[in-house]
Symmetry: none
Subunit: 216 residues, 4 copies
DNA sequence: GATGAATGAGCCTTCATTCAT
DNA sequence: GATGAATGAAGGCTCATTCAT
């Protein structure tokens, strides 16, 4: 049904103008993403992106002021997808939950794929760096909050700095894609989840949580 | 005696030729390092490096076949400095030792500084990637070995996968410079060391080690 | 009609796109030819060719991958023009025919002009050398064939090696432009034709042919 | 005997200074000749020539103001060697004499080898061109004179322009090295000599000369 | 809006030439 | 005299960006 329903004749899609434009924009972004990931940001030229999206070079510049803006749009568009859903660790087996979370997060990142180009740019593009840092901070605060909550309930180690724990967890999280890229295979999320959990919970707490005695 | 005896003031260094050449090479490498770190590898031109080292463009090419080779030399020169000395965790307070190690490692990396450019290049330079991956693997194996040893002595958690622990530690280690770059200040090595140690040792073991009862 | 109808005066050519592109290519080739001839192949830069054709440097590279390719195109385009039409010496006054042929050939070469750059390149560009050698061989075989035919009819010297004769003729032919370049004036084609004819025909045969007694 | 007679100790030749200098100059010229011929004039760098002659780059410029001057010296030095000895065609079998001359000339040219680089330079170096043109003219006049002499004795064709004959002969002469370079083998000097002779002498004259009846 | 030819600044690299040692 | 490191102008080529159609 709707506008794409086969009433098309030949190669002239009868889409509303705005829709057509939107499609082109999308195509360019997708091409940009693909090429950035395949060959790196610097090595990808605007012309290539346009060609890959089957539009003329000039068209690129109608939709984006330059290569960088396309990247920014990619990020804006999809940064929220990186945001891990608030983990509900305290409601059940935290190791299992975390392993699931890791798998999901890793998959999301891979779908997005941009983590491969960011390192290339972050150090030299403050604005971009800020966007990313903010996203990271958001995750960090979210995680600290969760840890804090668990701390309130006396579920966590009492002698560890929650901020450092949170940061360490994020460090591990962010290194995951690299690990997988280097080894060429999926990481063993369960083992890693177990390690991460140990940073947070004493073993006996985890057992309690796993046995379901102590859910929120 | 004569004109070369060091009494000269001003711009006539009068060093032995080979020395002069070596100095120039060093100056170029230092300039390369500085500029790579400041403005990124791609954005740095051979001309700039030469200018920063106060030599002509052509001189750059006398000492290096190109920018990449300069980077490789930087790495070769200093990769061993990254190599953390084998930690002797089991001989004393592991938290203290690890904190010291973190501080030292972080400082080394910062002196080297290249960790900022590597991410930019690794995905697109297989040879370079291999060099780095090898170095990382070396650290990883070293760490696994140490953990294994501790494990033999029943010092470690018995339910954690040592390989994953090792990898997580390295992940944290490698994220340190980024953390410091983003926050603009030194990390709190002691708190982080504590978190890392928790991945390895049960708290009571750490206490034992700290009290010196159970050294190797 | 409207703005494209040719009534425009000034700088708006308004040709169909393809035509314009073709013209630009032509202009570049012509500029290349001119500059190669004037100042030599090596001494001519792509930038100069572009400037002479009133286009930007980059435009040169849209139409040609490099200087050499432009030269190759020049040759391909015009090599057939060098090919002398098969002479019909045996049908009439051979001296007159040959003189005409020489004049024509010389004029063609001069129009083309590339004979001035070829010597510079042939020894160091095997591919180019092959192209040229093939063209020369073609002429050689054509000439041998004609001589052979004349030989069949007992028109030629009986004691000369036709292959050597053919080669000598071509040598003379190819030296013509140089002779003219050095003296700065046209060669005396009739006198030279007479000399060449003497390499082929005994004088009495020529007389016969000239008197028309013995045409094919 | 003399200065080179074995009193040398180690690697310090006890040659008079001037001699040493002269040797270096010679070595540079020989290296230049070799490299010009192998890789072309333009593609040969001063540094290469120096390296090939086992001297430092700077030394090159002590003996020659630049690459071109080295070439000029090469020519000056050896141009006379190109000069064919005045042929004494009229004293014996002209075909035999000419064949010998061709062989000798060809060998000389090949020893010199510079005929390979001249075409690259002549069109764009008027001074050089003049040197060469003069040499050629000298040969031309020499040849015309000989022909004239033969003409006086009624040995030559009476209806051919001696100037054109002379020029044609030189054309053939100068194309010889190219022919040999292209075919990769020696030319058949006897056959070619026969053709050339036919441009000059009627067959019966040649027979006379060969039979020795009519020497000068 | 779309096109893609055109632009030209700027990068990489080479090499003739100089000059301090 | 000899050396060879240093110089820097200049050529080849790319690519982000513009603009006439």
């Amino acid at each position: 049904m709707s506008k794409d329903d086969g009433h098309l004749i030949g190669k002239f899609p009868a889409l509303p103008k705005q829709e057509r434009a939107h499609q082109k924009r999308e195509a360019l972004m997708e091409s940009g993403r693909f090429l950035f990931i395949s060959k790196g940001y610097e090595s990808t030229t605007a012309k290539e992106i346009a060609a890959h999206a089957n539009v003329a070079t000039g068209t690129f510049y109608r939709y984006f002021s330059d290569k960088r803006q396309l990247l920014m749009s990619l990020l804006e568009d999809q940064l929220e997808k990186i945001m891990p859903p608030e983990p509900t660790w305290v409601h059940g087996d935290p190791e299992y939950l975390l392993a699931t979370l890791l798998a999901k997060h890793s998959e999301d990142l891979n779908k997005l794929g941009l983590h491969r180009v960011l390192p290339e740019l972050l150090p030299h593009d403050p604005e971009l760096a800020e966007v990313i840092t903010n996203a990271r901070l958001k995750i960090h605060f979210m995680m600290v909050e969760v840890l804090e909550q668990a701390h309130q309930e006396s579920l966590t180690w009492t002698d560890l700095d929650l901020d450092s724990v949170s940061w360490a967890i994020i460090a591990v999280l962010e290194k995951l894609p690299q690990k997988e890229a280097e080894s060429g295979s999926k990481a063993d999320y369960e083992k890693i989840a177990k390690v991460i959990c140990r940073m947070i919970f004493p073993p006996e707490i985890i057992e309690q949580l796993q046995s379901g005695e102590k859910t929120l």
